[in-house]
C-alpha cells in the first residue's frame, strides 16, 4: 500500500478555496436568494472558528494535562446540552441540567471504554485521542437526545387523555408514560442505527475520509470508523435512556398527576 502521508495545504492553496465560496455566492446572487450576506458571514466565521480551534487544540495537545482535558470535555458537554435543549419549550422541566447530566455520563462512559479498552494510547489521557473521540460521541448523542426529548414531550402532550386514564386505574407514572417513552427512545436511536446500515455504501464518513486524506491505510481507517460508529450508537442509546430515566418523573407532580405544562391540551 502506498502511503503519501498528509499533503499540506499552503496559504495560497487555502486562498484558492475562495473560488468555492464565489461559486456559492454567484448562485445566490444570480437567483436573488438573499443569502449572500449570510454566506460571507458564515465563511468568515467558519474560517475564524476553525483556525482558533486548530491553534487551541495544538496548544491543548502540547500541554496534555488530565485536568485540562476533563474541563474541556465538560465545557463541550455544556454547549452540547444547551444546543440539544434549545428548542424544548417546557419551562418547569429543567431540560438543560438533565441533558447535561445524561450527555456527560453517557459520553464519558463510552469514551472511557473506547479509549482505554480499544485504542489504548500511551499515556492513557492523551488529549489527541480523548478530545476528538469525545467530540464525535457528543455530537451524535446531542442529536439523539434532542430528538428523544422533543418526542417525549410531544408524545405525552398529545396523549394526556390516555395517560390520565391509566393514572385513574392506579398506574404508576412509569406505567402511564412507558409507551410515549418507548417512542421517544426509538426516535432518539433510529438515526444512528440507520446510519449503521448505509455507512460505506452511501457515504464515506468524515472521520474515515479524513484519515485516508491524511495518508492512512484505508483498511486501518475503516477499523477506526467501525469503532466510531458503534460507540456513537452506544452513546446515543445510553444518553437517551439516561435522559428519559431522569426526566420522565419530572412530568408528574408530587401527587403523581401530570404537571400543568404537560396537560396543556386540557385547559
Amino acid at each position: 500500500m502506498m502511503n503519501y502521508g498528509i499533503i499540506p495545504i499552503s496559504h495560497l492553496q487555502l486562498a484558492m478555496s475562495i473560488i468555492l465560496v464565489l461559486m456559492a455566492g454567484l448562485v445566490s446572487a444570480f437567483l436573488k436568494l438573499g443569502l449572500l450576506k449570510s454566506l460571507i458571514w458564515g465563511t468568515i466565521r467558519a474560517f475564524i472558528q476553525l483556525s482558533l480551534i486548530g491553534y487551541l487544540l495544538a496548544y491543548i495537545f502540547q500541554i496534555n494535562h488530565f485536568i485540562l482535558i476533563l474541563l474541556i470535555m465538560l465545557l463541550m458537554c455544556y454547549i452540547a446540552a444547551r444546543e440539544a435543549t434549545r428548542r424544548v419549550n417546557v419551562p418547569t422541566q429543567e431540560p438543560l441540567l438533565v441533558s447535561f447530566l445524561s450527555l456527560t455520563a453517557s459520553s464519558l462512559l463510552v469514551s472511557v471504554i473506547v479509549v482505554t479498552l480499544i485504542i489504548t494510547p500511551r499515556p492513557w489521557y492523551s488529549a489527541q485521542i480523548w478530545i476528538p473521540i469525545f467530540g464525535m460521541i457528543l455530537g451524535n448523542s446531542m442529536n439523539g437526545i434532542s430528538l428523544a426529548l422533543d418526542r417525549m414531550y410531544n408524545e405525552v402532550r398529545s396523549h394526556t387523555a390516555e395517560i390520565e386514564a391509566l393514572l385513574c386505574f392506579g398506574a404508576s407514572p412509569w406505567e402511564a408514560v412507558k409507551n410515549s417513552v418507548r417512542k421517544a427512545l426509538r426516535a432518539g436511536m433510529t438515526p444512528t442505527i440507520n446510519s449503521l446500515m448505509v455507512v460505506g455504501l452511501v457515504t464515506l464518513p468524515g472521520m474515515m475520509t479524513g484519515q485516508i486524506l491524511a495518508g492512512a491505510d484505508p483498511r486501518e481507517a475503516v477499523r477506526y470508523q467501525f469503532v466510531v460508529m458503534v460507540m456513537i450508537t452506544a452513546s446515543a442509546a445510553l444518553g437517551c435512556l439516561l435522559l428519559i430515566g431522569i426526566s420522565y418523573r419530572k412530568m408528574f407532580t408530587e401527587d403523581l398527576a401530570l404537571t400543568e405544562d404537560m396537560r396543556q391540551s386540557h385547559n
Binding site: 390520565e164 386514564a165 391509566l166 385513574c168 386505574f169 392506579g170 398506574a171 407532580t253 401527587d255 398527576a257
Partner: protein, 221 residues
C-alpha cells in the same frame, strides 16, 4: 347520617388573576351527588380535582375519616375513580381494553379480569358479547363510552366520579346505564357516585340524590 366522602371549600384558580371555582359537598354511602353549574363553570375540573389529577389552590377532602393527603395517590385514584366524558380507548380489542387495568402493577396484585363479570356488565349496558373481540378504536362514541364505563366498574371502585356518562348515548341506552348505576350503588356497602349531567331527568334515577352547585367567578378562556 354517616358522611364517608366530604370535600370542603375546594378552590381552584385557573391562572394567576384568572377565573376561579369554589365547591363544598359531601356524600353518604350508597348515595349519589349531582355536580351542577352552568357550562364552563368547572364541573369537570372539580371531578378531576377530586381524582387528584389537578391540585386545587386550596381545600381538603376527607374519605372514611382520612385526609386525602394521607392516602397514596395511586390507591386513591383506583378507589375514587374518575371517568371522563370522552371515552379513552386503547389499542387492541374491547377484551384487551378491559384487561388493561389488571396488567398494571397495583390492580394486577389484586387479581385478574373476571371475564364472566365483564360479559354480564356488557350485557347490562346493552352491548353484545361479540363486541369483546371488536377493535376498540373503531367503536362508535356510544359504544366506547359504555366499554369505558364497564372497564371502570370492573376495577370495583368505591366512588365513581362520572362526567356526563350518557352524553354519547340515546335516551333508551342512557336509561339502561343509569338504572344499572343506581343498582350498583346499592349492591355493596360504601359505594358513592358523583355525577355531572346536563340532563335533569337523569337525576331521577337516584333516590335521595343531593346536588352541589359550583360557584365560579370569571369565565374561562
Amino acid at each position: 347520617m354517616e358522611v364517608f366522602f366530604q370535600f370542603t371549600q375546594i378552590t381552584h384558580q385557573f391562572a394567576p388573576n384568572g377565573p376561579f371555582i369554589h365547591a363544598s359537598g359531601s356524600l353518604q354511602p350508597g348515595k349519589a351527588l349531582a355536580v351542577q353549574g352552568p357550562s364552563g363553570a368547572g364541573k369537570s375540573t372539580l371531578l378531576r380535582i377530586l381524582a387528584r389529577l389537578i391540585k386545587p389552590t386550596s381545600g381538603t377532602v376527607i374519605y372514611q375519616d382520612q385526609n386525602w393527603q394521607a392516602i397514596p395517590p395511586r390507591y386513591w385514584r383506583r378507589k375514587i375513580h374518575y371517568l371522563p366524558q370522552k371515552p379513552v380507548m386503547f389499542e387492541g380489542t374491547v377484551r384487551d381494553n378491559l384487561k388493561l387495568p389488571f396488567e398494571l402493577d397495583l390492580l394486577g396484585k389484586e387479581g385478574s379480569l373476571d371475564l364472566d363479570k365483564a360479559k354480564l356488565l356488557l350485557t347490562e349496558v346493552g352491548l353484545p358479547l361479540a363486541s369483546l373481540d371488536h377493535d376498540a378504536r373503531t367503536l362508535s362514541g356510544g359504544e366506547a363510552a359504555r366499554v369505558a364505563l364497564v372497564r371502570s366498574l370492573l376495577i370495583d371502585p368505591e366512588i365513581l366520579l362520572l362526567d356526563e356518562p350518557t352524553a354519547f348515548l340515546d335516551t333508551e341506552t342512557g336509561k339502561k346505564v343509569l338504572m344499572y348505576l343506581a343498582n350498583w350503588l346499592q349492591n355493596k356497602k360504601n359505594r358513592g357516585l358523583l355525577l355531572v349531567s346536563h340532563k335533569e331527568n337523569n337525576l331521577a334515577f337516584f333516590p335521595g340524590m343531593q346536588a352541589v352547585v359550583i360557584q365560579s367567578e370569571g369565565t374561562r378562556g
